[in-house]
Point group: C2
Chain length 468, copies 2
């Protein structure tokens, strides 16, 4: 009755980087690696999930990682490679021999293999491909031919099918054949005699139906499929919207050539959702901890230089009122308040609008409502902050006109901030530019320029009440 | 050989808000609703996926939406409710009768039902529950008892199990029983005689094994499970890390009480990844387009007031150098340049660091490398921007000392920006505060204060070369 036969490794060892014992564990590993104690190491890593082993590699040197890697079974190696950080994977693979690589690839699905091979130089890629079976090699070469962020690159070529004219028995036989290669089959795809995709059948339906039933009788014809050149983001959006688990990928004639499952898409969903945060600040969305410094600098410095131009613009606005400032020096001390609040309020608006565009809540039918809402929020914020600031300035400096000028400038700047913050991303989206791209730089530029203009302009208008 | 019997609705009608024909479609719908032409409407909506119908409701009034809703079958209604926007769902459900609601719930899984019921007032909730079967009612009441963002609320109570001592035939019978209720079964869970979770069996393995085999022989014992009180984010992280498709939820004794599938988690992954963007700007992560204005203002104004305090701080720093400015007024025009660049460079650093903390790339073992990298980037940026700015100031104003002062202040501010930008989120995380919370407000405060201090301080030091 009890566990008579253990199937698959039991993952007992949880490796958690945030745990307090992690550092000790790493130290111990390093010591054992130094002394070359293979058996101790195998014992230490027993029950560790390949995803966790891949995590360890982040904190070990290349040599230490390779040493551990070579202690694993080929199946564990194949999974570990997939879960390793993209950055540095090319260097890691460069250290492995062609044989070592091709032996692990036996355990990968085609999209995983294609992914790994894309990190090799063309020569080594060819060498590895020549080690695989002719059919595998052909499949992978054709997959490498697809555009990099397309459905074709994301798909796995391992899927089970049945023809409309087959009966359930044949379908089950097809599943059995594929079951050895594919870990997770949720459904089989149904095609006509020419391989054109017609529908799908969830596995439970297939198995619970009498085996002489025709496939066509239990086929679900509302099947989702994507052309191989569809953008991966499009695919991800549909998975989310229609609660899909698995979809087919078809060629120009509608014939099924691959399948994409939800876990493939999960990473894309997460990446997409978090990339905006980087783009807004003018940072490359590919930037990771391991990105070389010069590469990081390259993208950032471009936007900082754009920022420099906009800063010179604000500076010019201030210079226009140099006379006023030389007479009322206290204005210089108040400039940071007006500009700073404007910048952050603008950032709040732009952030909300960008997120709503990304989730699809804000579209061309309701953009005006969104802008109007932000403007109203800007009014309220402006009234509150303007009153508080104006009052405080009055109390500190004793001049009510100064307080009024600051308060009024604050109000106007809040309005400008909310309008720019909401309109800039919408306009960018309308001309098909990514709304996140450096939007915070443009919005803070606008709020600075307008803030200084209104503040110093009002001060100039009422200068007689402010001098002295 | 052809499609002898159609199973399930064929989703032919794609409703796309971004398409040019969308507005016309909406207009036509509104007209038909006005004239009460039920048959035309049903024809217009034929083949539309409930997710797309839910999308339509966003652009129709409450009355129009209800009218369309009541034309759908109960099954379509159940799915549409799930895909509708959270905001406004309570108002929508308030308009439905108790009977209407309970009839649709027949088609929902328990976690979906629990989700929908949470939008009703307690009285109406009880009324609806009294319409369900005693066992369903009990299940949902107990699920509503779980903490709101816990695994217990996320799970579905519909799952298939088998005992270790059963044979495969019994397992298949259990699946058949559940198959009517559950759309997607990928695996069955294996328990001991007391219901304690022991493992799982992928559906294909179950069906491809001879029926007299003992369940225990084909059970995969490395099963992932979560205690019902686990945070949903924890669950989502594990799904991502270990490529899970389905996990069990267990009670304090380890007995399986529910299951969570990848599509449940997808939304959480996406929400988590994109919420940081809002928190950084000091906006509530719950803010949506439909959030009432006063509610939006509430959260934002708190952080803007914090910003006001930090702005007064910068203002005080500038006031400290008021004498210098009154002598060298041009300094006031250059202040925006130094402060503005510092703010955006700081935002770049803080954004990268926050993202790396969120993805798990930055942890307590490598935080120093991250800070060091940002500092180096800050140096390079500072040298480049400082040189450019200094040179331009020299060319425009003709004073080399002024150019040097600005350039040096720029360099120092870039260093400060990168240090603050990287350290602030790390420190917040270390004291277990969300690193994203208004971090951009704090970082820009630091860069403003330090920028003004160094710029005006250096200017004061070299004032004799700058006056006149």
């Amino acid at each position: 009755m009890e566990e008579e036969a253990r199937k698959d490794t039991v993952f007992r060892l949880k490796i958690d980087r945030e745990s307090e014992t992690y550092e000790e564990f790493l130290e111990e590993l390093r010591n054992q690696i130094q002394s070359g104690s293979e058996n101790s190491l195998k014992a230490m890593l027993e029950g560790a999930h390949p995803a966790d082993i891949a995590t360890l590699f982040r904190d070990l040197s290349l040599e230490e990682s390779l040493y551990l890697f070579r202690l694993l079974s080929h199946e564990e190696q194949s999974y570990t490679l997939i879960k390793m950080e993209e950055e540095g994977l090319d260097k890691f693979l460069d250290e492995l021999s062609i044989d070592e690589i091709s032996l692990t690839l036996d355990f990968n699905e085609t999209d995983e293999t294609t992914y790994l091979l894309s990190f090799l130089t063309p020569e080594r890629r060819d060498q590895v491909l020549s080690k695989l079976s002719k059919s595998d090699s052909f499949e992978i070469r054709s997959q490498l031919g697809f555009r990099e962020s397309s459905a074709g690159r994301l798909m796995s070529k391992d899927f089970a099918t049945a023809k409309l004219g087959d009966n359930v028995r044949k379908g089950i036989i097809n599943v059995r054949k594929k079951a050895k290669e594919i870990e997770d089959i949720y459904q089989i795809y149904v095609t006509d005699e020419d391989g054109v995709l017609k529908g799908f059948i969830p596995l439970k339906d297939l198995f619970l139906t009498p085996i002489n039933t025709k496939i066509s009788k239990i086929t679900n014809y509302s099947v989702y499929s994507f052309h191989y050149d569809t953008d991966q983001e499009e695919v991800a959006k549909s998975f989310k919207k229609y609660d899909l688990v698995s979809t087919a990928v078809v060629d120009d004639l509608g014939r099924i050539i691959g399948r994409i499952t939800l876990d493939d898409v999960l990473e894309i969903v997460e990446e997409e959702a978090s990339e905006d945060i980087l783009r807004m600040a003018g940072v490359s969305e590919d930037e990771r901890l391991s990105t070389p410094i010069l590469q990081s600098v390259k993208r950032r410095i471009i936007w900082l230089n754009v920022n420099l131009l906009t800063a010179f613009l604000s500076s010019t606005v201030v210079a226009f009122f140099e006379d006023t400032i030389s007479q009322i020096v206290v204005l210089a001390t108040l400039m940071p308040i007006v500009a700073g609040l404007g910048g952050n309020a603008g950032t709040q608006s732009v952030t909300v609008v960008i997120r709503n565009i990304a989730t699809g809540d804000l579209t061309f039918s309701n953009w005006w409502d969104a802008v109007r809402k932000e403007f109203t929020i800007g009014c309220l914020n402006g009234l509150v902050l303007g009153s508080i600031t104006g009052t405080m300035i009055f109390l500190v400096k004793g001049n009510p006109v100064l307080g009024l000028v600051v308060g009024a400038a604050m109000l106007v700047n809040m309005l400008v901030a909310s309008l720019t913050g909401s309109l800039v991303p919408i306009l960018l989206k309308a001309v098909r530019i990514d709304p996140a791209i450096a939007s915070s730089i443009f919005v803070t530029a606008m709020t600075d320029v307008c803030g200084f203009f209104f503040f110093l302009g009002l001060a100039t208008l009422f200068s007689r009440y402010l001098i002295g």
